[in-house]
């Protein structure tokens, strides 16, 4: 789990201009980094990071992405 979380955070930090990511992109990056990682586990890790306040959801209403709290667009734009 911790390994997955780390991989997620690393991936989210790696974006140059991008700060919000689709789950699928996170999933792909994590699977590359942590061979054998399962989609469901990655989702759980994301949820955990959300609950810890590391990640935030970014929702257009129709679509949801994940981003690091404090990076890129925030609610007070």
């Amino acid at each position: 789990m911790e390994e997955l979380k780390k991989a997620i955070v690393e991936f989210c930090e790696s974006g140059k201009t991008k700060t919000k990511f689709y789950f699928k992109d996170i999933e792909k990056a994590v699977k590359d980094k942590v061979p054998g990682a399962k989609t469901l586990q990655i989702k759980k890790a994301c949820s955990a990071l959300i609950n810890e306040g590391v990640l935030i959801y970014y929702s257009t209403g129709s679509t949801t992405m994940y981003g690091l709290k404090g990076k890129g667009i925030t609610e007070d734009h």
Partner: protein, 430 residues
């Protein structure tokens, strides 16, 4: 009573017989003033400011909202739609105007205790404006500030015993028709199934990991009163596989004019005496009905269960007793590739608690779509992109002519290497 802004355009909507949302909003604005800011956590002028901004929109012919992506309640990826005014200086009451989607009761029956509780909560912590209901079926609480989101969420859950609905790349709040609660046509228990599926897939509903939104809707029969075939990624529609039950005496009753055809649906106009040929037999799309020796005969093998005869003579005809659901996949609105209706993939399945057979199909669908679907690609688009037969493979459902209107007319069959004797590799010198 004059509200704080001039709203001549809106006031044009106070006349006319249909209920006027402007009249309603104005009187409620007055109530909020009377309540006073001390009894309200949101600006007491919120309704007046909303009306003012809408008035401005009418004048400009343009909306004055901006999208706001970050807001939500902790741990949920859906249920809140962030919204900000683009003219907050003029209308500070609606500077923030987020909505909260509250899960409706399946089939939307309510006791007044609950509704009153909801009203009190929403008046105190929100604008007091709401939709009964949104297009997906949720109760939409329209307009509050960011800091109220979390308290509202917890008060809903802890006091009113109700959760948020869906938004974003989630399972959306499932919706069902009135079904067995008040409809003789219901071919399976829409409420029960809707409730069970909602509970079973709570995590999918609140924590987004899908490529895009996903909707379930439950229609009790092919009449489609919850429009599942047009609006759900997975449409459950009741059907049967045995014979239509006929009460020949009641058929005579209709012929003799004892019962109104269509359950009285055409009472307002004189359409003449009921004519069973004109109104039923010749309208049957498959031509599988006839009157033989005064008795109505249905060739059930050729009936497509369109419901017309049953709808028209509800006292005489009833669907069969061996009932279940058809599963159709992939409906959506036109973004991006044009609207789609759901496609019949599983013609018949029994639908009985705990619905393990159906959950298995759903699980396979989710798993495959999460793997195969592109970002912002609805299930129906994924199916269209890879081909219906691939989706059948995934579900383990054998291809059947029931899935298509007609077989393909182009011959471009993508044969797989293993289908062709000798495979694809060959020596040029052969």
């Amino acid at each position: 009573f004059k509200i704080k802004h001039d709203i001549p355009e809106l006031e044009q909507l106070e006349s006319g017989p249909w209920p006027s949302f402007v009249a309603d909003a104005k009187r409620y604005a007055l109530r909020r003033r009377k309540l006073g800011q001390d009894n309200l956590l949101i600006n007491q002028d919120v309704v007046e400011d909303l009306l003012g901004q809408v008035e401005l929109s009418y004048v400009h012919g343009e909306t004055h909202w901006k999208h706001g992506g970050i807001v939500g309640v902790i741990g949920y990826g859906g249920g809140v739609i962030g919204r900000y005014s683009d003219v907050p200086e003029q209308f500070p009451g609606v500077a923030h105007f987020h909505t909260i989607r509250v899960a409706q009761v399946p089939s939307k029956f309510y006791d007044t205790d609950f509704l009153r509780g909801l009203c009190d909560l929403w008046e105190y912590r929100g604008s007091g404006l709401l939709n009964m209901h949104g297009s997906t079926g949720d109760i939409i609480l329209l307009g509050t500030f960011t800091d109220q989101l979390e308290p509202i969420f917890q008060e809903l859950a802890q006091v009113l015993d109700v959760d948020l609905g869906g938004s974003g790349s989630n399972l959306r709040t499932p919706e069902c028709c009135v079904g067995k609660a008040r409809c003789q046509y219901a071919l399976y228990d829409t409420q029960e199934m809707c409730y069970e599926m909602t509970m079973h897939y709570q995590d999918e509903l609140h924590r987004p990991a899908f490529p895009y939104k996903f909707k379930f809707k439950f229609d009790g029969c092919p009449n489609g009163c919850v429009a599942s075939i047009a609006r759900a990624d997975l449409s459950f529609i009741g059907t049967w596989r045995d014979d239509i039950r006929i009460d020949q005496d009641a058929v005579q009753g209709y012929i003799n004019g004892e019962f109104p055809p269509g359950g009285g649906s055409h009472k307002g106009r004189d359409w003449g005496k009921f004519d069973i040929y004109e109104e039923v037999i010749n309208r049957c799309p498959t031509g599988c009905m006839s009157l033989e020796g005064g008795k109505l005969v249905i060739d059930n093998a050729n009936c497509t269960r369109c419901m017309h005869c049953i709808n028209t003579m509800p006292r005489a005809l009833k669907p069969g007793k061996d009932t279940g659901v058809s599963l159709l996949f992939g409906a959506k609105a036109p973004i991006l590739e044009g609207a789609q209706m759901s496609v019949l993939v599983i013609p018949f399945m029994k639908a009985e608690p705990p619905y393990d057979n159906i959950k298995e199909i759903i699980d396979k669908t989710f798993e495959w779509w999460m793997e195969e679907g592109k970002n912002r690609e609805r299930l129906g688009e994924t199916i269209q992109r890879v081909g219906l037969q691939r989706f059948c493979d995934v579900l383990g459902v054998p291809p059947a002519p029931q899935m298509v209107k007609e077989p393909r007319s182009n011959p471009y069959i993508f044969w797989k290497e293993e289908d062709v004797p000798g495979g694809f590799k060959r020596d040029i010198n052969d």
